[in-house]
Amino acid sequence: MSGPIRISPEALAFEAQTVQRKLSAGLSTLRQLGDTQYGATAKHPVWSDGKVTLYRYQGERAATAKVPILICYALVNRPYMVDLQHDRSLVKGLLARGEDVYILDWGYPDLSDRYWTLEDYILGFLDAAVEHLRASHGIDAINLLGVCQGGAFSLCYAALNGEKIRNLITMVTPVDFHTPDNMLSHWTRGIDVDLFVDALGNVPADLMNNCYLTLKPFRLLQQKYVGLIDILDDVTELENFLRMERWIFDSPDQAGEAFREFIKWFYQANGFVNGGVEIGGREVRLANVAMPVLNIFAEQDHLVPPSASRALRGLVGSDDYTELSFRGGHIGIYVSGRAQREVPETVHGWLRAR
């Protein structure tokens, strides 16, 4: 029996020299890079309330869609992931197909915002943004696209205000929080969230990021940076890497009360499945989500396992339910080459058919 490794001296030499060359090149390449910019598409604010701002994206051509899309992003990261750079932009893809795209930016809550609740976010800010679009477009209902936690918000909103939503799109959205492969949920269930929020006020972004990194510590804290050596001599790839790195760690703190409610109601009580979630005095029942629903999830998602998203099919009241199972991860669904080809086209095609 031979050993498991067989590397020829030539291959070894080549690999060693390559690493050496890349490391040396890295010094020069990194010096060429300035501050990493992000955001591919021009946008302007059309409404705001405190730290929350509604932006409208400006495409290179006029929108042909009569009903605008409002993107409702998660609270835990910044929304520019959907428009990271010119060749990695869901927004750009939608605009190019004639969609009229808006995005709600939650801003960076500080301690004076610690009492913001899910009601404030969903029936306050989100509803106000929807109302603004209904009024400014002169229509009864808009298209709502919720991302991750923003997808959960969108489901709540659509369940409570179905008449204002014409079509609902959820992307990498957790619905069943208690699937056995959901590591985040598994950890969260043992936490005394009342104690946690009372002690911290707002939940610090660094703490949240640390939690996410430890979901896959060997890949995210080591392998990723060893892999970085491969692109040290490529300015463009390095810029892409740094842009992503910036997005990952550019995270808002979480308003304490909203965090408390989200963890209790969804991560711990699994409220979409088990019921019992009440916002603004009304119960959130996914059976009330009667508008057409497009549910897009990622097959290799370690933050929101596909099983957590797929559960939506059996819970919504809509008889017009469509799924897109995307081959990629939680982030790849926005920035991968495949995503640029598949996701905007799917969303646009699905909307046009309705």
Partner: protein
């Protein structure tokens, strides 16, 4: 020297020279802000692995090491402290697991004695203070215990990771399946480690330990905060509780204001009440860009501006109207906002 000899020579000397080379390299990199961190990020895991590969030496090319031997050498390399993924994340590295195993019984006895002391009743004028301090000390001990339990589980992760690594290497012992690059071996290690981690991290024991670690930290934080608050109050300084109470009131006022605004808008739409002023309505971006100027305008032209908003709702030209709104200076501080737009 041929290319092959050059590469082998470089790899052979890597173990001894790596630290020096990386130090020099990082020194160069310090000239560019932010680069040093990037270098550090790459250097640490790369250093661990190249040390490991250099330690395998000439056995690489003739297939002379078994899976067990390779896994053992990798364990030795990691035990030296380099490349520990949990370093910096948690207080203890894997190299300290064995030490803790020896020390744990002694520490447990010590903790029991201390805890018994902390349960002693307090008397006299200082009894309230003593009880609080006893509670604080207990919270510290409980936090240490919770951390230790959590660290012990991370130690298990590493043990199982080595076992999985060896098993995965064994799968490559058959001719034709052997690994042909350093990176392939490294990636195999990462796969093994992540699998081991996932198995333990999804266990009931880990979930409970994680929850208790977080809860113990928070109890300690609250106890510390309480003591600090008490001290601040005695010194006449404002406290977190006071600021929090003010924030709660501000939030309640904001909610009331929004509810009233919504009610007024609804009544105005149905003709039952006067139009809410522009200052009370959800503020337009233009008004926020130049508050002073906008305030002057709103006094003079509030009815007109509202009429414009109403008109926008039904006018096909409304898109153009909103597109003219200026883009800069809205909301947050410039230092945190880079739209790139």
């Amino acid at each position: 020297m041929t290319q092959t000899q050059d590469g082998l020579h470089w790899l052979g000397e890597l173990s001894d020279n790596w630290s020096q080379a990386m130090t020099a390299w990082q020194s160069l990199a310090k000239a560019v802000p932010g680069v040093e961190d990037a270098m550090g990020r790459m250097a640490e895991p790369a250093q661990a692995f190249t040390q490991f590969m250099a330690a395998l030496g000439p056995g690489l090319s003739d297939g002379g090491y078994s899976a067990a031997e390779i896994a053992k050498r990798w364990r030795d390399a990691l035990a030296s402290g380099v490349g520990n993924v949990f370093a910096g994340q948690f207080p203890h590295g894997i190299g300290q697991v064995d030490v803790r195993q020896f020390a744990t019984p002694l520490l447990d006895v010590f903790r029991q004695q201390i805890t018994a002391t902390l349960d002693a009743p307090a008397f006299g004028p200082g009894r309230e203070q003593q009880e609080r301090w006893q509670a604080l000390a207990k919270a510290q001990i409980a936090n240490q215990q919770a951390q230790s339990h959590y660290q012990a589980l991370l130690g298990k992760v590493m043990e199982q990771a080595f076992a999985r690594f060896e098993a995965k290497l064994s799968e490559h012992e058959a001719p034709g399946r052997q690994l042909g690059s350093l990176r392939a071996i490294y990636d195999l290690w990462i796969d093994a480690a992540e699998e081991a981690y996932a198995q333990i991290a999804l266990s009931t024991e880990f979930g409970a330990a994680y929850g208790e670690m977080v809860n113990a930290q928070m109890r300690l934080r609250v106890a510390n905060q309480n003591e600090l608050e008490r001290l601040c109050r005695e010194l006449g300084m404002p406290t977190r509780s006071e600021v929090t109470a003010a924030h709660r009131k501000v939030h309640a006022l904001e909610r009331s204001m929004r509810a009233l605004r919504t009610e007024l808008t609804a009544k105005a739409a149905s003709g039952l009440a006067p139009t809410p002023s522009a200052a009370a309505a959800a503020r337009t971006v233009a008004a926020r860009k130049a508050p002073a100027k906008a305030a002057r305008r709103s006094k003079a032209a509030a009815p007109k501006r509202k009429a414009k908003v109403v008109a926008k709702a039904s006018s096909p030209r409304s898109k153009k109207a909103t597109a003219k709104v200026p883009t800069a200076g809205v909301g947050k501080s410039a230092s945190r906002r880079r739209t790139g737009a």
